[in-house]
Amino acid sequence: MINIKKIPLFYWRRLSQLVGLGLFFFLFVNTDYAGRDELEYAVNILFRVDPLLALCASVAAGFFIILLLPAAGTLLLTIIFGRFFCGWACPLGTLLDGCHQLVPSLGLGRERRYRALKFYLLGFLLIGAWFGLPMAGYFDPFSILVRSLALAVDPALNSLATTFFTFTYQEAPGWVNGLTEPLYDFLKATILPFHQKYYELAILSLAILLLIFFLERLERRFFCRNICPLGGLFAVTAGFSFLRGRTGSKCGKCRNCRDVCRMGAIDEERNISSLDCNLCLDCIHHCPGNKISFKFERLQKKRPVFNLSRRSFVGALALGAALPFFLKSRTMARQADPLLIRPPGALPEDDFVGRCVRCGECMKVCIGNGLQPAFLQAGVEGMFSPVLKARTGYCEYNCTLCGQVCPSGAIKKLTPEEKKKVKIGNACFDKNRCLPHAKGIPCIVCEEHCPTPDKAIKFREAVVENSRGEKVAVKQPYLVDELCVGCGICETRCPLPGASAVIVTSAGESRDPAQALPGQGYA
């Protein structure tokens, strides 16, 4: 029998980390269609317990977003336990800990120069969210992690598996296939995505994540200590926390605790700073004198030191408040990019970008591979927000998944009936390229795929002269604006090589009355 009390405390922490990571990957893999219109799991829960995103999205929205209420629970627990989340639950933190052996750090980890960065960043992001520069998702650890997994790692993994198993299928002898084919089936049924997907900014998203791992070279948990604005928010809260680590005041000279501390939370006098300590509990195990303990205390003897430069902090706030006004000098303040097609249920543009936390969940779940991360078409503040790129993929008519996974309500959750009434854009034909119009060649693949029960793409019979000078009867497609929902399947399926002859733009989108089409009026 194992005596539970004898299991070192840090084993419990490791167990918690592993369970958390397992749960994270389980929810990630299940961020996909599973045979029902409604998702079975709250796959976005990680983003909904994130108080940084909750604060920033709520500040941008101007009211507290109820969907993000679980984040309040995380903050309450932080008041009790300190930065436990960083040490016990954060999937990015767990991955960084797991890669510690692969990316050994060069520094001793006592560098305190950058510690205040995360507080400046936190202030900047909060002020920016208020004034209209919503960038929390650029730095939030979960957004970075899920985005890069969804946009880069997952498709790459699938491509790797497909390449390998195609090779074995085509080249290997039968007995090998007897082993590899069941394995491939198993992987497809479990971790591999159903579709091979393609994403813009895949490499950039990956590079941001890799950079965080690379920074481990400087010191352990460099990102968590110095940059992570969520960690910053936890640190501010942990300043008032009840559970605190105490070291012996009269211990010897060993400094083991300082050397093992992954957060650099222990100073020369061996005080454990509650701003940095993530309760990994390694120090307890390494203290030869068993002098370290964690206890609940009502009042603190010593206030934690933030080490903030008032000038820099005010500077960060001023920057966050001033920058947004420069955004108004861009052309897009007057005329949005006509190809900026937002998912069905997306709020009006300013609200949408304000509340979008750039988590990538909607792009991961999009079964048509239509949603892509924006680069600069939505401005510097809109990077990684979802845009429909109708040539690569389309919005599936009966699907409502993106609204279900959006953690902040930037994309409203719609019923299938509500969704079918939402117009996200409008198709238009390039008659110079469309085959029945330009060449007298029969086609109307767009009409075949148009999903509205009364088809938005209709056709007229016409006798035209083809390029050989023959008179031929063809069906020429045209669009009925009132029926088109902007799903983009026509553009995706247009069989012309290169650019499509039918292109969807945001004209007429129902979320913006100013975009109304002629005849549509201000309904």
């Binding site: 269609y33 045979g35 029902r36 497909t162 198993f165 195609t166 299928y169 085509q170 080249e171 159903f194 079964i367 048509g368 599936e396 008519y397 009966n398 699907c399 085959l435 060649i441 029969p442 086609c443 109307i444 693949v445 009409e447 075949e448 795929h449 148009c450 999903p451 509205t452 029960p453 009364d454 088809k455 056709f459 069906k475 399926r493 247009c494 069989p495």
Partner: protein, 303 residues
């Protein structure tokens, strides 16, 4: 080249051992066998019973599936639509056919389609996934097509296409049973059996639309069903091939079956009040000797 040689070539090609693309030229021989085309149809509310009736009047499933056969049953599961919307083959029809093939002693029965909407949604919404899932028999394989298994095939007799990528299982089947739903289609006017074979094509299928009738007939020279069962239990009269509006659906409670794919399409066309000559793929397939389209020469039996 006979069937066995063809299969050997397909095997070699997909094993990467041969660079030459397999040919297929047994269709003339098959066409010769159909001296007089017989067609059976039945009407009624019990769709499983309809299937049984048309099968027995054609001589029973045993005529098309022999014990130990590898069978492919190819329904239309093209669209993310429910059974009432008449865009996909009725699940009960598919299920009954699978069961009869099993009863006839098939070694395996594969059911699949390459859909146009998202595959999983189509399989679920069509009701076919649930219906086939109810059959608890390991010989039934209901799956999504695997991109690795499309093989390029030279269409020797093709007039409009010379080469197509075709799903390997469809080529290798001992018995290929085509189970389309009959419905409206803007370009081809109707989609029935011959059009349904597009579901075994790989690659970009949009190019088929440029001269669709002839290209479908060309495809029919290599994808030759032993049996065509056309689901006209409810037919879509407009806004096809997807539909979505129940006002466009007409309930006929009818199933048509024939070993002659052209005859099956020709007869079903009349259910829409159209003449067989109005459907280009029927005309083209008939011209290529793939079957009979003259209703006077088809022996129609009400089962």
């Amino acid at each position: 080249m006979d069937r066995r040689e063809f299969l050997r070539q397909v095997g070699l090609w997909s094993a990467g051992l041969s660079l030459s693309v397999p040919h297929f030229r047994i269709c003339e021989a098959l066409a010769m066998e159909n001296k007089s085309s017989m067609l059976s149809y039945a009407t009624g509310k019990d769709y499983a019973d309809l299937v049984d009736r048309v099968l027995s009047s054609l001589g029973g499933m045993g005529k098309f599936v022999r014990p130990g056969d590898k069978v492919v049953i190819k329904p239309n599961i093209g669209w993310d639509r429910n059974p009432a919307q008449a865009a996909n083959t009725h699940p009960q029809v598919v299920k009954t056919l699978v069961e009869r093939a099993l009863d006839a002693g098939a070694r395996e029965v594969k059911v699949f389609d390459r859909s146009c909407n998202e595959q999983r949604r189509c399989y679920v919404n069509s009701g076919i996934q649930d219906a086939v899932g109810e059959i608890k028999d390991k010989r039934v394989k209901f799956f999504h097509p695997d991109d690795r298994k499309y093989v390029p095939v030279d269409i020797e007799r093709g007039k409009a296409v010379r080469r197509l990528e075709i799903y390997r299982d469809a080529l290798e089947a001992d018995s290929y049973i085509n189970v389309p739903v009959a419905k409206h289609h803007s370009l081809s006017r109707l989609t029935m059996g011959i059009k349904n074979s597009m579901g075994v094509l790989g690659g970009s299928r949009g190019a088929m639309h440029h001269d669709l009738g002839q290209k479908l007939a060309d495809l029919a020279t290599v994808v030759q069903p032993k049996l065509t069962v056309i689901d006209a239990t409810r037919i879509l009269l407009a806004n096809g091939p997807q539909g979505g509006d129940l006002n466009d659906v007409k309930v006929l409670d009818t199933i048509v079956a024939s070993a002659d794919p052209v005859a099956a399409d020709a007869y079903t066309t009349t259910l829409f009040g159209l003449k067989p000559e109005e459907i280009q793929s029927t005309v083209a397939a008939h011209a290529m000797g793939l079957g009979e389209m003259d209703l006077a020469k088809i022996r129609v039996v009400k089962a």
